[in-house]
C-alpha cells in the first residue's frame, strides 16, 4: 500500500527572536514530501505471545531536501505495538531511497476475534492499517504445541529475536534476518532455550531445527550436543532425550509420553564452539 501524503496544517508557532534557530532541514513543518507504505497492507494476528504480527513501515523522501520525519503509530482496541514511533533521517536522492523499520503487533491470548486498526501519522496526515484478530491455531493432537508460545532463554544475541525459534519458520535460509534464536554468550556453554506451553500437555516428540544453510552448514555452525528436558508443575527439569555429535540441520527426538508445562533445550555444545543456534523448536503430542 502506497499513499502520497497530503497535509494542510500550518506551523502553529511563530519563532521568537531569542531562539537559537536550527536549520530548516530539521524543522517539523508539515510538508507533502514523505511517502509512506506499509507491508503487508492488512495484518492478521493471533493471541499467542511469541507469534506477533509483523509490519514493515517505510518512509520515502520524495521532496528535494534531506529531512527528518516522525511516523507515529496509534493502536486501537486490544492491539499492543513494539513501537509507537519511527523517526529517521530521510535523504532526498534520485532514485528515491526508502527507509524501513519493523513493528510487531500483539494481542492478549484471550482476545476475541474481531477487526481493529493501527493509525499511522506523518506530518499530521493519516493512514490506517486494518488488523484482524483471528482465533489462535488449534493445539490438537498432532499439531506443534510450541508454536508461538512464550519463549525464554539463558541469553539472546542482540541481533536475534527470542521468539525466532517458535515462529513457525524453520527455513535456515531465513536465518538472522527473519527467524532463529542465537544465544548471547560466545563460546560459553551450556545455554538453554525454554518454551512454556499454553496448558499442561502430554508430549512425546521434539523436532529441533538448528542452523543449516548453504552458507552456514550444520556441521560447522549447528548445535552439536543437547538435552531435551521437560518440566511439570513445580518439579525440576527432567531430561527425556539426549542428542550427541549432531551434524544435521533437523533432528527428531522421541520419548515416552510425558506431561509437560514447559520444554527446554539444554544446549551443551555447538559445532565450531561458538554459539547455540536454533532455527525452530517444535513440540508434539501423540
Amino acid at each position: 500500500m502506497t499513499i502520497r501524503w497530503q497535509s494542510a496544517v500550518a506551523l502553529g508557532t511563530a519563532v521568537a527572536a531569542t531562539v537559537i534557530a536550527l536549520p530548516q532541514a530539521t524543522s517539523s513543518r508539515p510538508r507533502a514530501d514523505v511517502q509512506v507504505s506499509v507491508q503487508p497492507e492488512r495484518l492478521n494476528v493471533v493471541g499467542l505471545p511469541c507469534l506477533p504480527g509483523n509490519l514493515t513501515l517505510t518512509m520515502t523522501n520524495t521532496g528535494s531536501e534531506d529531512r527528518y520525519a516522525d511516523l507515529t503509530l496509534d493502536p486501537r482496541g486490544p492491539l499492543q505495538l513494539s513501537r509507537t514511533l519511527f523517526s529517521s533521517w530521510l535523504p532526498a536522492v534520485d532514485p528515491d531511497q526508502p527507509v524501513s523499520a519493523p513493528v510487531e503487533v500483539r494481542v492478549p491470548r484471550d482476545t476475541r476475534p474481531g477487526d481493529h486498526s493501527v493509525d499511522l501519522e506523518v506530518d499530521r496526515s493519516r493512514l490506517t492499517v486494518p488488523v484482524t484478530v483471528n482465533p489462535p491455531p488449534p493445539k490438537d493432537p498432532g499439531s506443534n504445541v510450541a508454536l508461538g508460545e512464550q519463549a525464554t532463554a539463558s541469553s539472546t544475541h542482540g541481533n536475534f529475536a527470542l521468539c525466532g525459534a517458535v515462529d513457525g519458520d524453520h527455513d535456515s535460509e531465513h536465518w538472522d534476518t527473519l527467524t532463529g534464536w542465537n544465544d548471547g554468550t560466545r563460546a560459553v556453554f551450556p545455554d538453554n532455550y525454554d518454551v512454556t506451553l499454553a496448558t499442561p500437555t502430554t508430549i512425546d516428540r521434539v523436532e529441533l531445527y538448528t542452523l543449516d544453510s548453504v552458507r552456514y552448514p550444520a556441521a560447522t555452525n549447528g548445535l552439536r550436543d543437547w538435552d531435551v528436558q521437560v518440566r511439570s508443575g513445580s518439579g525440576d527439569w527432567r531430561t527425556v532425550a539426549e542428542v550427541r555429535g549432531n551434524t544435521l540441520g533437523h533432528v527428531t527426538s522421541t520419548f515416552d509420553p510425558v506431561q509437560a508445562d514447559a520444554v527446554r533445550i539444554l544446549c551443551l555444545a555447538g559445532n565450531g564452539n561458538t554459539y547455540s543456534r536454533i532455527v525452530e523448536v517444535e513440540v508434539y503430542g501423540s
Binding site: G12, T13, V15, A16, T18, V19, I20, L22, P23, A25, T26, S27, S28, D66, Y68, D70, T72, R83, T84, L85, F86, S87, S88, W89, L90, P91, V93, Q97, V99, A101, A153, S155, T156, G158, N159, L162, G184
Partner: protein
C-alpha cells in the same frame, strides 16, 4: 585581566541581572499540555551539562524529558520556552547572563545555549527553568585567555561506558574531584541489544534491541543519561566529547559496515549522529548535516595546551585484512589508507605548524602505540587501532617531529584497559627515539570488573617494550598539567559489579616538559 562586575554587566546589556531563584519572570505565553501550567512532572530527568569552553563562552545543555524513555520524551510535539541563567556563584546571587531559548520537538526538546560574554578561566554555575521548575545546577569553567599560561590545568578523560556492565562509580569519583575540563573519547552508548547485565533492568525492553532508527538512538541516550553518577560528572565540569564506533555501530568505518550497503548505512549513521548531537553539550557548529558530523575541532587552553579533538571513524579507510587482530602487512602499511582522512590530517598538521602551546594534546578514540598481542616472535596487532593504519601513524608522528611540536601527548580510550606508552617513530626498533607520550584510559564500565593484570595485559607488557604501564580494571584518568610537567593519575575501581565500589589511584605517571615518554612517580 578581570573585568569588574559593573563592566561585565554593561557588556551583557542586562540592566537588572536576576537574583534569587523564584524571581525569574514567568514565560510570557501560557503553555498547555506537557511542561505547560499544571504539568508537575520533572522535565530535567536527564540532568544538565556544559561543554566546549572558549575563553569567553561555554555551551550549556539540557533536554526536557519528563518521561525519558517514552516517545518524544513524554513531551507534546510543540516548542517550549526554556529560561536559563549563568551566575558567578552557586547560589545565583550574581547572575551574569540569562536568556530564554526554545526547546524544539525536532531536537528532542534539547537545549544548547552558546553562552557568550563570559570571562576567561573562571567558574560559572548554570541552570534552566521551565514552567516554574528549576533544573539541577551545573558548574562549568571557561578556558583561559588566548595568551595566558595558567599555572595548572586539571582534566579528566574517560571512555566506554557500557551501562549494563557496571555501575558508574568512576563518575562519582570524577565528580568529587575538581576538574577544569573532562574529555569523553568515545562509546558513550552501545548500539547493540543486550538481555542481561549487572544493573537492575538490564533486560528492559528498550535495551534488548539494537538501535537503528532515530527514535531508538534517542531512547538509548536517555536510558544512559538517567544515571545519577553520569549526571553528576556532567554537572561538575565542562565536557569536550568525541565519538567512536558504538555511538553508531561496532567498528564502522566511514560509509562501510557489514550490516548494510553504504546508502542504507548512511541513514543509520545520520540517525546516530543526530541523537548524539542532541544529547551532547556541543555547539551548532557541530550540528550534523544528515550523515555528516563536523566533529573534529581544536580547543585551546591559552598557551598551556592545545587539544586536537579527532574523529578517526568518519573518514577512515575500511579496516585492513577484514578487521580483527592480524599480522601487519602491505595493507596496514599502504600509504593510500588513512585513519583520519586527508582533510583532517592536513588540518592537524597545519595546526601544529601554528601551535605555540606548551602541551599539544591529541584527544581521540584509540591507541596510536603498537599493540602486539601475540606472545613470541609472531606479531598480531588490532586492525581497528592505528596499528591498522601504519602510514597514517607515520605521517602524524613524523609530521609532529618535522614541525618540532612541543610535548605531544595522546589521550585515548577504546581498549577497555589502561595502557601508557612511549610513542616511537619505529616501534620495531627499541633504539628509535621516543617522540611523544600516550595515555590510554580504561573503560568506565565496559568489561565488568576486570583485574589488575590479565593474561592479555601481561602479553602486551612483554611484547611491547614501549608500553610502560598496563591495568585491566575499570576507571578513568585524572591529569594535572603545569607548564613544567604532566601527571596522569590512573583512578581504578575495585568493583563496578556492585554499586558501592572503591576508587583508588593505581599509578601516577609523569611527563616532563621537553622530555617525551613515561616516567613513573
Amino acid at each position: 585581566m578581570r573585568s569588574t562586575r559593573r563592566n561585565f554587566l554593561t557588556v551583557t546589556g542586562t540592566a537588572a541581572a536576576l537574583a534569587l531563584a523564584g524571581n525569574l519572570p514567568e514565560v510570557g505565553r501560557a503553555l498547555a499540555g506537557a511542561t505547560g501550567r499544571g504539568d508537575r512532572r520533572d522535565p530535567f530527568t536527564l540532568g544538565v551539562a556544559s561543554g566546549d569552553p572558549l575563553p569567553d563562552a561555554v555551551v550549556i545543555w539540557t533536554r526536557l524529558a519528563p518521561e525519558p524513555l517514552a516517545p518524544f520524551g513524554g513531551m507534546d510535539r510543540r516548542p517550549v520556552e526554556v529560561q536559563w541563567q549563568v551566575a558567578e556563584d552557586p547560589h545565583f546571587r550574581r547572575v551574569v547572563r540569562h536568556g530564554t531559548t526554545r526547546a524544539r520537538p525536532e531536537s528532542s526538546h534539547s537545549v544548547h545555549v552558546d553562552v557568550r560574554g563570559l570571562r576567561p578561566w573562571r567558574h560559572y554555575w548554570y541552570r534552566f527553568r521551565v514552567n516554574g521548575q528549576l533544573s539541577p545546577v551545573g558548574r562549568t569553567r571557561t578556558a583561559p585567555a588566548a595568551e595566558a599560561i595558567v599555572p595548572e590545568l586539571s582534566l579528566a578523560f574517560a571512555s566506554c561506558q557500557a551501562w549494563w556492565e557496571g555501575w558508574y562509580t568512576a563518575y562519582a569519583d570524577m565528580a568529587r574531584r575538581d576538574h577544569d575540563l573532562v574529555f569523553f573519547l568515545g562509546d558513550y552508548i552501545y548500539e547493540f541489544g543486550i538481555d542481561r547485565g549487572i544493573r537492575p533492568n538490564s533486560n528492559a525492553p528498550w535495551m534488548t534491541q539494537q538501535t537503528v532508527t532515530l527514535d531508538e538512538y534517542r531512547v538509548r541516550y536517555a536510558s544512559y543519561k538517567l544515571d545519577p553518577d553520569l549526571q553528576a560528572a556532567h554537572a561538575s565540569a565542562p565536557w569536550v566529547v568525541t565519538l567512536d564506533d558504538h555511538e553508531v555501530v561496532d567498528n564502522w568505518a566511514d560509509e562501510a559496515h557489514p550490516s548494510a550497503p553504504p546508502a542504507q548505512f548512511l541513514v543509520r549513521r545520520a540517525n546516530a549522529f543526530r541523537a548524539y548531537w542532541e544529547h551532547m553539550p556541543l555547539r551548532l557548529t557541530q550540528l550534523p548535516k544528515g550523515p555528516d558530523l563536523p566533529l573534529y575541532r581544536r580547543i585551546k587552553y591559552g598557551r598551556l595546551a592545545d587539544f586536537d579533538v579527532l574523529d578517526t571513524r568518519q573518514y577512515r579507510s575500511d579496516q585492513a585484512y577484514g578487521d580483527g587482530t592480524k599480522a601487519p602487512g602491505p595493507e596496514t602499511k599502504d600509504p593510500a589508507r588513512t585513519i583520519t582522512g586527508d582533510a583532517q590530517e592536513k588540518w592537524l598538521l597545519d595546526g601544529w605548524s601554528a601551535s605555540r602551546a606548551r602541551w599539544n594534546v591529541l584527544a581521540h578514540q584509540t591507541a596510536i602505540a603498537r599493540l602486539d598481542t601475540r606472545q613470541g616472535p609472531d606479531v598480531l596487532v588490532p586492525m581497528d587501532t592505528w596499528d591498522g593504519y601504519e602510514a597514517s601513524r607515520a605521517r602524524v608522528l613524523g609530521g609532529a617531529v618535522q614541525r618540532k611540536v612541543r610535548n605531544l601527548v595522546s589521550i585515548a580510550g577504546d581498549l577497555h584497559r589502561s595502557v601508557a606508552s612511549d610513542l616511537k617513530l619505529d616501534f620495531t626498533d627499541p633504539d628509535s627515539p621516543t617522540v611523544a607520550t600516550e595515555f590510554v584510559g580504561t573503560s568506565i564500565s565496559s568489561g565488568i570488573d576486570g583485574m589488575d593484570l590479565d593474561p592479555g595485559g601481561a602479553t602486551l607488557l612483554q611484547e611491547n617494550p614501549h608500553i610502560k604501564f598496563g591495568n585491566f580494571q575499570r576507571g578513568y584518568v585524572s591529569c594535572s598539567i603545569t607548564p613544567q610537567r604532566w601527571i596522569s593519575d590512573y583512578r581504578v575501581v575495585d568493583k563496578v559489579s556492585v554499586p558501592n565500589g572503591t576508587v583508588s589511584t593505581r599509578a601516577k605517571l609523569l611527563v616532563e616538559d621537553r622530555r617525551p615518554g613515561i616516567q613513573t612517580l
